[in-house]
């Protein structure tokens, strides 16, 4: 017996090793979407046109409306999608091409969906409203996800984002209402978020409690606590303690006048601008500063960090507590940024969605925010479609964005590798 004669081929990419299921998942789901475009959305469209509006009545610069023949557009979108599915299956697509393809397929699906929904209606469909709502509605998820990024990168799993949002919302409402100062409300909302974070830190880092269990327990605690205080304090004193004002929109000069982009990105409350600030801060901080380098080190390999003199435990405390401020602001948005009063359990699971966004976003600030926007978009689409007079149960069709999200992320993102020491308490020596 000798060494095998064949020259061993080094398998140069993991793609060749991907299981058949993985390999066919993306093209198959594209095909399905294409067929839905044509046979569901196209066939069942009311005859007639769909009209899309890109500017409001009061805008200084206006963009003309776009009118499309609904059924035809659906057929075209479906055709392109099916062609892309075939191309994906049989052509060697690179990473960038794949991502662009996925984006295009999802975009075409949404166009078809909107054509179907708006076909034959006299009202035009406002794209600006849709995007504006998406951005504003995603604020708590985006901020929560950024908090999660900092905690995870430091090596602590933060399941308590939900609790941080809820307590931030409650505290902001009661303080803003009681003192009459929105800014004090915002500040105390932020502090409330970091108070919950401190609770998490003490038990997770100090007492090394299982972080997943701990997070869920904290969320339940906050849900119960705010519910109790709501019944006991807010209901009897509704007018003094639970009727805060809300921040009004600030239009950024010049930038706010750009068609489409202006109203969507630069004409919103302080919360959206704070989100930009948090995103930029976390991104730059995490990847370009001493703090970020050390944070990533204690989340990946705390022993290595310790041997070069970094104080792992105290740094984890500081990061987790400071990151709580971001989620606290996100929570404050519910009450003093949007609704104008506190309601029981009003964060309604968005903290958990933020957690999912963080993971789908690969623990990176931009990725997390993009994933948060995707979730926010789905929610916004649903709420707008439910006001239009659509032919079939919109709830049913609106599951598709979520399903698309899951499929696309399973196919595109694949296995996400989190920070290696995430969730593992550091014990010296």
């Amino acid at each position: 017996m000798t060494i095998t004669e064949r020259v061993p081929t080094v398998l140069d990419s993991a793609a060749e090793l991907v299981s058949p299921f993985r390999r066919w998942l993306a093209p198959a789901s594209f095909l399905l979407l294409g067929l839905i475009d044509i046979f569901v959305l196209g066939t069942f469209s009311h005859s007639g046109d769909a009209t899309f509006a890109f500017s409001g009545a009061l805008d200084t610069v206006t963009v003309p409306n776009l009118t499309l023949a609904a059924a035809v557009t659906c057929y075209v979108c479906g055709g392109i999608t099916i062609a892309l599915a075939a191309a994906w299956a049989f052509l060697p697509f690179g990473l960038v091409v794949r991502r662009v393809t996925i984006a295009v397929v999802v975009f075409l699906f949404i166009v078809s969906l909107l054509c179907w929904a708006d076909a034959g209606l006299s009202t035009s469909f406002s794209i600006v409203n849709l995007l504006q709502g998406t951005l504003a509605g995603s604020i708590p998820i985006m901020l929560g996800a950024l908090t999660g990024v900092i905690c995870s990168r430091s090596g602590v799993i933060n399941i308590a984002i939900e609790g941080q949002l809820l307590f931030g919302a409650f505290t902001a409402a009661i303080v803003a209402s009681g003192t009459g100062s929105l800014w004090l409300g915002l500040l105390s909302g932020a502090l409330a978020g970091s108070l919950v974070a401190a609770l998490l830190a003490v038990f997770a880092i100090g007492y090394r409690v299982d972080q997943v269990v701990l997070g869920v327990v904290i969320n339940t605690l906050i849900l119960g606590l705010t519910g109790y205080l709501y019944d006991g304090v807010m209901i009897p004193y509704q007018n003094t303690l639970n009727s805060p004002a809300t921040f009004s929109a600030i239009k950024i000069p010049l930038l706010g006048d750009i068609p489409i982009i202006g109203p969507v990105f630069f004409d919103s409350t302080i919360f959206l601008y704070l989100t930009y600030l948090a995103l930029a801060g976390v991104q730059v901080g995490m990847f370009s500063t001493r703090w970020g380098l050390r944070t990533r080190a204690i989340g990946e390999h705390p022993v290595a960090a310790d041997t070069v003199g970094i104080r792992v435990t105290s740094m984890r405390y500081r990061n987790v507590i400071a990151a709580g401020v971001i989620a606290g602001v996100g929570g404050a948005y519910f009450t003093i940024g949007s609704v104008g009063s506190f309601g029981k359990g009003m964060s309604s699971g968005e903290g958990y969605i933020a957690l999912a966004a963080m993971i789908f976003g690969r623990y990176a600030p931009f990725g997390a925010v993009a994933a948060a926007l995707l979730f926010g978009f789905s929610t916004q689409l649903q709420s707008i479609l439910s006001t239009l007079n659509t032919p079939i149960q919109s709830n049913l069709l609106l599951m598709t964005p979520y399903i698309v999200t899951i499929i696309v992320l399973a196919g595109l993102v694949g296995k996400v590798r989190g920070p290696r020491a995430e969730g593992i308490p550091y014990v010296k020596g």
Partner: protein, 543 residues
């Protein structure tokens, strides 16, 4: 800088890891610390590096007593350490790893920079923005000065271990280390990489850095050290010059004469039993660990797989046992295809398996010796009837086996986790050899065992061969391969780079272990390949 340790004593519970150790490291010298696994070398160095606090004794630098509460203090005092398990963040670049903890921030100052640039530099420094350019430059400069050949921008996880080790050395040098501790630096290196390391050590020494070189490999220590201190059972057994003979050093290390050869007769190989053809194994990330490997193991022969750890040996064994999916290729036993078989089916087909990590994969620590001995057969008669376990049969089996395999335990009901490594391995052997089998796969079968246990395990393995079992041994210790194998296969990066008879010189194996691409024969006699240290154990004493 002169470093002196005086009367260092360190206890872990009732275990005396270091006892009244005195050690003086002269400036510009390579001081070797020689001792078996568990002799207390790593404990001593962790005390010196501030990772552990001594119970008694003191550390003197240039005659001044110092105390290190943490590595931070030790680093500040000019002590650097390259741990056996590297302290590198795998997803960081070389530059990021080097700079971690002593980050350069702001902008590098340039003469005559306009004032606004200086203001900007100040602002960036205040914000803690990293100055990556300066770190890169520092790494390049040190790399050039000591011939380290390191690219600052490569991700550490993509580097071979030999280069990762150099990154660790640069980390220490950037922090102005005057004394550099190298903990078992050659354990993971190929002979050629070891040669490179020695060149670097000599250069550092010429530059005035003192080196503490920890090893249990006699020849390496003889080749590189200026002074040798031998540790045994936590205490200094004596100091020797590098001119001391191997026998002298070995006797001092172990305290008695060592016999590593197993007496065995010529193999009488029968037909091929285990046939592996084109086996390819990858992990979850798609990285290929075993790449189109083909070999056969015949009845009545021992095939020894040699190679530096981490070249796919673990993955090969796991794939052969069905613990890891295969991408391509086939595994068959006496012509029966087992490629897709579950571990249970393989056991029943007659494969016995001694895993590499006995505590993790071989035993259930909290279970008794008796239970561990029937882990693979508890479902079958006589140990079970229907859904009921036959406890009497299990106890009787344990009693026989404990005697037969000389397991030193207070009772068969003792949790197996409390036994010593050698006795744990005997329990595994008792189980695996207890059922009918045609193939024995043993991975690192004597790692961390004392001399007596090594001898016992080796004798049992040869006995299996003589009974006509096809035996596959995977070992990183060349001595073990030489002692046992009738045929040697060398593994490198998931492939077999060559089959050789056991008469092959170690240099040739070393060349194959490094990929076999170099034309020149392997490096000199000090290479890692001829290491002759048995391993005795106070388990847990070395960190």
């Amino acid at each position: 800088m002169e470093l002196e340790l005086k009367g260092i004593t360190k206890r872990f519970g009732s275990l005396l890891a270091n006892h009244q150790i005195d050690l003086t490291v002269a400036p510009g010298q390579v001081h070797a610390l020689l001792g078996e696994n568990g002799a207390g070398k790593s404990t001593l160095m962790n005390v010196l590096y501030g990772l552990l606090q001594p119970d008694e004794g003191e550390i003197l630098i240039n005659g001044q007593a110092v105390s290190f509460a943490s590595p931070r203090d030790a680093i500040a005092a000019g002590i650097g350490m390259v741990h056996q398990h590297f302290m590198l963040v795998p997803v960081f670049t070389v530059a990021e790893n080097v700079t971690l903890g002593i980050e350069e921030t702001g902008l590098a100052e340039r003469d005559g920079a306009p004032s606004y640039l200086r203001f900007l530099a100040g602002a960036l420094k205040l914000a803690g923005v990293l100055d990556r350019r300066r770190t890169r430059r520092d790494v390049r400069e040190l790399s050039r000065r000591y011939g380290l050949d390191i690219d600052p921008d490569v991700m550490v996880e993509n580097l071979p271990v030999g280069i990762q080790q150099r990154v660790e050395i640069v980390k220490a040098l950037v922090r102005n280390a005057k004394v550099l501790i190298l903990d078992e630096p050659t354990a993971v290196l190929t002979p050629a990489e070891t040669e490179d390391l020695f060149r670097i050590i000599r250069q550092l020494k010429d530059g005035g850095t003192s080196i503490v070189f920890i090893s249990h490999k006699l020849r390496e220590v003889q080749a590189i050290a200026d002074t040798i201190t031998v540790l045994r059972r936590g205490a200094v057994a004596g100091d020797k010059p590098p001119t001391a003979t191997e026998d002298e050093l070995a006797a001092m290390m172990v305290g008695r004469n060592v016999q590593l050869r197993v007496s065995k007769t010529e193999a009488k190989p029968g037909p091929a039993v285990l046939d592996v053809d084109g086996l390819t194994v990858a992990d979850e990330t798609g990285r290929v660990w075993v790449n189109e490997m083909s070999f056969q193991v015949r009845a009545g022969e021992i095939l020894g797989v040699a190679g530096v750890q981490g070249n796919g040996q673990t993955e090969l064994c796991e794939a052969l046992m069905g613990l890891r999916p295969t991408i391509a290729g086939t595994v068959s036993l006496n012509g029966r295809d087992l490629t897709r078989a579950t571990p249970a089916q393989r056991l029943r087909a007659g494969v016995s398996y001694v895993p590499e990590d006995r505590q993790e994969d071989g035993l259930i620590g909290a279970f008794s010796v008796a239970d561990n001995m029937v882990l693979d057969q508890y479902k079958q008669p006589p140990f079970a009837s229907g859904i009921r376990l036959n406890l009497d049969a299990i106890a009787a089996n344990a009693a026989t086996r404990v005697k037969e395999f000389d397991v030193r335990t207070t009772s068969a009901q003792t949790p197996v986790g409390t036994l010593s490594g050698g006795n744990q391995q005997k329990v595994i052997l008792a189980r695996e050899l207890g059922h009918e089998h045609k193939v024995l796969i043993a991975s690192q079968p004597t790692r961390g065992l004392d001399v007596g246990s090594i001898e016992f395990v080796h004798r049992r393995i040869v006995e299996q061969r003589d009974r006509g079992v096809a035996v596959l041994i995977v070992s990183a210790e060349l001595d073990e391969i030489y002692a046992l194998a009738d045929r040697i296969a060398v593994m490198y990066e998931g492939r077999i780079t060559g089959f050789r008879p056991p008469t092959v010189p170690a240099e040739e194996l070393g060349r194959l272990m490094a990929g076999g691409t170099e034309e020149a024969p392997g490096p000199g006699p000090e290479a890692a390949t001829t290491e002759a240290a048995p391993e005795a154990g106070i388990p847990g004493a070395s960190q």
